[in-house]
Each structure stands twice: as structure tokens, then as C-alpha cells.
Symmetry: C2
Subunit: 490 residues, 2 copies
Amino acid sequence: MTETPLLGIDIDQDAGRSLFEQVYLAVRGRILSGGIPAGTRLPASRKLAEELGVSRTTIVAAYDQLIAEGFVTSRPGSGVFVSDVQPVEPITPGQRGQTIRQDRAIRLEPTPKETAVRDPVVRPFQPGQLDARLFPFRHWARAVARAARSDPQSLVLSADPFGDRLLRTEICRYLGDWRGVRAVPEQILVTAGSGEALEICFLMMTQPGDRIGLEDPGYPQIRDFIGRIGLDILWLERDEHGALPPSEGRMPKLVFLTPSSQFPLGGAMPQARRGAFLAWSQRSGGLLLEDDYDSEFRYSGRPVPALAASDETGRTLYVGSFSKIFSKGLRLGFMVVPAAMIDAVRAFLRAYDGKVSAAPQRALGLFMAEGDFYRHIRRVRRHYGERRAALIDRVQTHLGGLVGFEDHSAGMHIVLRLPDDLPDMAISQEAARRGLTCPPLSGYCGSEDRLNGLLLGFCSFTIAEIEAAMPNLSAAIDAVVRQRGQAGAP
Amino acid sequence: MTETPLLGIDIDQDAGRSLFEQVYLAVRGRILSGGIPAGTRLPASRKLAEELGVSRTTIVAAYDQLIAEGFVTSRPGSGVFVSDVQPVEPITPGQRGQTIRQDRAIRLEPTPKETAVRDPVVRPFQPGQLDARLFPFRHWARAVARAARSDPQSLVLSADPFGDRLLRTEICRYLGDWRGVRAVPEQILVTAGSGEALEICFLMMTQPGDRIGLEDPGYPQIRDFIGRIGLDILWLERDEHGALPPSEGRMPKLVFLTPSSQFPLGGAMPQARRGAFLAWSQRSGGLLLEDDYDSEFRYSGRPVPALAASDETGRTLYVGSFSKIFSKGLRLGFMVVPAAMIDAVRAFLRAYDGKVSAAPQRALGLFMAEGDFYRHIRRVRRHYGERRAALIDRVQTHLGGLVGFEDHSAGMHIVLRLPDDLPDMAISQEAARRGLTCPPLSGYCGSEDRLNGLLLGFCSFTIAEIEAAMPNLSAAIDAVVRQRGQAGAP
């Protein structure tokens, strides 16, 4: 086991770069260049600190960063070793006397290669995932730096529990221009994704035992959360125009709807049906919770206005998210609070531990104010539209006779409908064995009669990646067809 | 009503500043300098855009920013007017036909003066509030800019659902050095404040009807959340050494504890009592949830180690937060997941909509790695210690004979104990009338026998502010003493 003295690292006390960064970059460079072979032990932090004339903290921090990125590995008692680009081996927990097995460590931590991409691996055709590779990282970093320069406090504090005022002003402008929703900044509650907005609605407006109306099929996460907090679910009846308002029995406190693009089936709720839900809301006193999750992604025709846009009575809580159209990692979403409920929401927030960070809010406000946000949406929509067309084309080529689907020319995934003798669960499992993530439609169904199909996402995959994955999907379906044949099924 | 042409604004297409910023800063400067008197109507955005040769979006964005900051006011149909430094008047909601009354708008929106401070107004002696004025905004902005420069993706993406690896590594170092807790980065789950960590524990490990053991007195928020999600509360018995482990009846799934500094009474749990809880946990199969919320704030003596530090069996879920020691607005906290539960937590997160933003994580990791974080804690602790001493001194001067309190020389507030004939609720209300926020101790009590006292926070108030507020507190108490006298109470 050789040891390198790491002599000749150039430390400039007055450089623009911090000492930490200089040490980190120098060692990292040596490793990448092969200047320090794998298995080499790095000098003890104390020793290197003396050598370079910097504080030991600086060296430890640099080593920690290199450990974090998988370039080196720490072995307690023996030192820090240049990694041979294997998954990060965890430090053993010490005193607590529990060691984490290497194989778990492999499952837990991204390999350095994955770390380089940063985005958690997304397998074709995982739905609901934007393509993080299209994110304008440099532009965004500039917006953040600008927010930091012009108003450092805005990175850390929000003057208002409802969120940054500039962001809320911009959200109002966006809602007016894109969604036909008129709102004032006082009505906008910035939340940690749409998830927190929904949780606030459920926690604030219901108590255990209350009923919530849900579309069927719909989001499993919402069904789970509602169950965990002791609420009852009323599965809404549906006809060819989508979900129907509750007509009899104990009325729900809230009805959750996706009117612009039903999740997961796609398709917009007709105006008449929207009117029926608004009428139900006024009749029963129940509220409507509109999740407008990906309405920007229409690839032809005109945008479908939000339900809230046609609500004159303020009985619709509109929830939006930036996770699908911009970035999931920022965790930003919002709710449009009907004016009459603003005080109630403020009162609730006083006893509620809010989850949204101030850090990204001003930067996003600037990003929207300066138009970069809209340029980005137009750009990704163009890409998503091409990928969608490619996916549909390949589906028709490879699976034409077998499957059907409705074309809503919108959304982030398509839904393949399968014949009854090809259960979606089985195909989804075969697809998983072939490196694909195609959730079964039946998994989104709550009531008894389960729809049979597959969700295929297309947003986060290039056309080449889609083409490469299609044969695996065909193979998965063929495998199930064969099994059925052998089993002597009709 | 005069109108200014705003001629002579200098726009430099090639300046480092964006056009938006140039327009915004120019108009803002004119208003601040009195160059444009209050009530003046600004030119229509289209007109000004032509005048300056920039896009209309840029002007609208600049106006929005000025509206957001209260420098100008928009009146639909009539234009944008220079504000006379009154609270922002909201745009009327239009189509939806709801107008928000001006008085609500006043209550809702900070005045420009408050906006300048940015932190929501904190009234003396509101407890649990750090002093945002001490935050190292410039240093932090540099850390953010450095994260943006060296790794723009880290502002937007986290490679791991558990959070940024550098931050998790630094949290482990912090826990080892400061709290005696040995953990590896694989065990650290970064959350949106400690609140999300607790909610994840409750949602993941319980179902409606399960029992949760709570200290009495304790956090009202946690009591409320537990009630809202349909869990039962078991109030733990207490003796002079604090809460006692459950001894009989249906055992709780989780027991929530604040061993380093009991909330709100203060004081650390003795080692023997910690052992008793660990023994209970092993006996009953229940888990311990340790909230280590402000353990850095000890003003004399040595830090009290965490309960998790003495747990050899991995039955303690340790929850920490950066909201009290660093910044509430960043909304960052964490949980130390026992190694044996890591896979279970990862599985839960797949169906859970996480709330923590990637935006501040890498920057905080750098801030910790480079020592700025620890310098900041030492600095605020020095201030808080002085403020605490001043508060205690003034309490003894003004209220000496009347009230008592235990000195734990730790925490962010002191608890005044009141004689039974002076109910804390009444005094708290009188204090509120005099501009103070002193929550009644009885409000933190869950079971029948309610303690009588007041919480006085000292962290976010200068010694001068504390001195200025003391007479109001005395007056509040005197008022209640008089009322009692008149009521002929003993």
C-alpha cells in the first residue's frame, strides 16, 4: 500500500477560490489524471495541513467532499484511500456497533458514474418524470446569484408565511396568462410542492372520519396519505365524460379533481361536467380541490382553462406545482386560496410547521419575471412533443395490433390499453426484468373494477432512448403472451 | 394627478445588470430620492417600453417588483401609482368578483418598513425565535454562489432521496463532535425542518388508533398533528426527574422525548432516566423519538450528550433541526435513521412526496465544511447568553418577589412560575394588549393538572429591546393583580 506525500499542491491564500476548494480540486485532479493510483493512502489530514500550511479543518472538509463524491474511501483506524471507482464504502458506524453491509451500501449509494449525472436514475418508460438534463442549470445559477447579490436576505427569509412576494406576484401573472385564473398575490400560498398544498387542505379542512371524494383511477400517493390520516375515501362514479359529482349518501368535505388532464387517463373534463361539480359544491357545501399538475404540456390545440377559472363562487382550491414543468428538486408548488379563506389559512399556518424553503423562491420569481421560465417551458414542451410522437410511432410499429390508446395530445405519458387476457401486472413485471418501469394502470384504480393497461412516460427519454427500449417492451409482452398460451388461457 | 415621463433612465443593453434590474433600480431610486412624488402615475408599461427601447415584459416585471416591495401601487384600469408608503393595496381579483377589503390587505401584507427588515415581526418575548438580524447573509450568499459556480446541478437536484451527500457527511461530523452521536451518511435523512422528520416517523410507523407517548408539558403543534391524523396520545407521568416510561396499559408505538432540554420547562434528563426509557423500548418494542431541538444553546457547563449517543441498540430515532440554531427560512432538518431501518425508510419515501428542497443543501454543506457554520453558532450563542443574563437580571429587579424560575442556563427562553392566584392566561392576554407575546405555560400542558407560568424568549431581542419591554410585562401582571383584588380573590 503506497502513500503519496501530495507535495507540490499549490495553495494560494489570496486566490478567489477558498482553501477548501483549492485542496479539494487539486487532489481530485490528481486522482482523475491517474496521478494517484487507486488504493493509495492519502496523507493524514494533520500531516497534509502542516505540509500545505492550512488548517486541519480545511483538509478534513476537502477529504469529506472527496469521500462524498466517491473519489476516496475512509477506513476508520487506517486512513483515507483513493477509491477504485467502486460504490462508496460506508464508514462503519463505530460505537453503536452496527456495520452496514457492503451490498446494502451498493444499493444505497449512487456509483460515482451516477453521481456524475446527479439525477437519480430514471428507467424507461417511467412516467411523471421531467428530463433534468434539459434544465437550464447555468441560467438558474445566475438567477440565484442575482437574488443573492441584490437581496441576500431573500435566500434565507420570507417576509410572509405565504411566501416570497415577487414569486407570488409572478405566479398570479402566470395563472392569468396561461390558466385563465384571476388571483391576487394575497391568495397565493407557496408550498413545498403540490404535495404540501394538498396535505394542508386535508389537515386543515377535515378531521379523522371525514369523507374525501377521489377520481378513480387517480394518484396512489393521495389515496395512501388520506388513509394514513384516518379519512374515508368516496370513489367517484365515472361515465364517458369522466368523474361524476357525488349524488347520494354522506357527502365528502372535499372532492379532488384533475380537470385539465385526468390523471392518469388524460383528457380534459367537459365544461358541462365542470358546471355539475361547481353546482354540487354549492349545494352540498363541499369544496373542490383542483390539481392542475401538467397543463402546460399540450402538444396541439389550445390550452384547456382551469376549473378555478370558471368558478365565480370561490369554492375551488387550485393547486399547482413546479415539479413537473420546471424542477422537482426545488420542491415548489402553490395553492390559490379563495379570498374568503385567507384568514383561516393564515390561522392554520400559525400552528403548522411549514415545509417550503425560502432559498429558491426569489430566484424563481426573477426567473419568471425575466421570461427565462417561459422560454424553458416552451423549449422542453417542444422536446416532449417530439418524444411523444416518436413513442406513439414506435408503439404503433411494434405493438400496433395488440394495444389501443386514446390520443389526448397532452401530458407526460400515454396509457396503453391491454386486452383482458394480458394482465398489466404481469407485463409490468416482465418489463421490469428487462430494465423498464411501466406501471400497471390497475395500480391506480381504487374501486373494484380495475382497468387493464400500462403507463408509458416519454418526457425524460430521448428518441434514441425510446427506440432502444421498445424491443424490451415488445419482448415483455411476448413473454406474457407465451405464458398465457402455455397456460392454455383463451 | 401628475404623470412622470421617466425620461433619462439610462439603459445599457450590455451592462452586467439585466434590463429588468436596471429599470427596477432606476425607478426605485427616483422614488426613494423623492424624485417622483407619491401619487404620481407611472407611464403605461407599453409606453415606457417604447421610450427605453426594451421589451414590455421587462417593464411589467420591474413594475411587479416595485409593487411587491410596496414602492408603487397598481389600480386596475387606472394604472400604477407611486405609493405614499402605505401598505400595499391589492389588485382587485377581477372576474372572480371578490374584492379583498383594504383592512384585510393591511393585516395581510407587511408595510414597506417591515419589508425592509424582511423577518416577520417578532414581538417581545416570543419564544423559540432566533434573531434573524444576526444571520451572516453575505457569507451565506457567497456559499450559495460558490455552490452555484462549482456545481450548478446541486442547487436543483439531489442525487439521493436522503439528501445531498456533502451535507449528510457534514451532519455526521457535527453529530460526532457536538452531540456524541456516531452515524454514517447513509443514516442521515435530510428533511424540511424537524417537522417533516417527525411527520415521516408518525406516518411511516403508525396507523390511526395507535398510541404515541408525549411529555407533558410539550409541543402543542405535535399534539395537534397527532390528533389530526387520528393517533391516540398517552401523556407520560412525570416526577422530579422528568417524564417516566409508560408502565402499564396499551403501550405506545413511539415515545417522543426532548432529553437534552425538556420543552418547554428546560433541564436535561438524568442518565438513569434515559436508561429507563431505553430499557422500556427494548421491553415493549416501542421506539424512542428524540427531538434535540436547541442543544447548542448552553451558556455554562458542558454540553449534555444526546440520548441517541447512549443507545447501543438502534431503537432511537434522532431528529435535529437547523431552524433554531441557523435559519428557519431554509427549512432544513434531519433524522438519524437506525441502520436497520434504512431500507424501510427508503421504501416509504418511494410512495411519499418529500418536502425538502435541494436548493440550500450543498451551500449548507459547504458552510459547515468550511467552519462558517460553527463560527456563526458560537457568535449567536454569545449574544443569546448576554441577552439571557440581562432578561434574568431585569426579571429579578421588576418581578423578584412575585415569580420564580429554575435556571437551567440553557435554551432559548425562561419559564416564569406564577402563584396560583395569578392565572397565566390572564397575564398573557394583558401582555398581548401591551405588545408582548408571552405564551402561558398552561397552553403547553396536555393532561388535567396544568402548570401556571409564562414563557419568555430572549434570543431575538437586544438587551435594549428587553429593557424597553420589561415595564409592559410588569404592567400586565399588575393589571391582573388589581383585577383579582377587585374581584376579592384571596
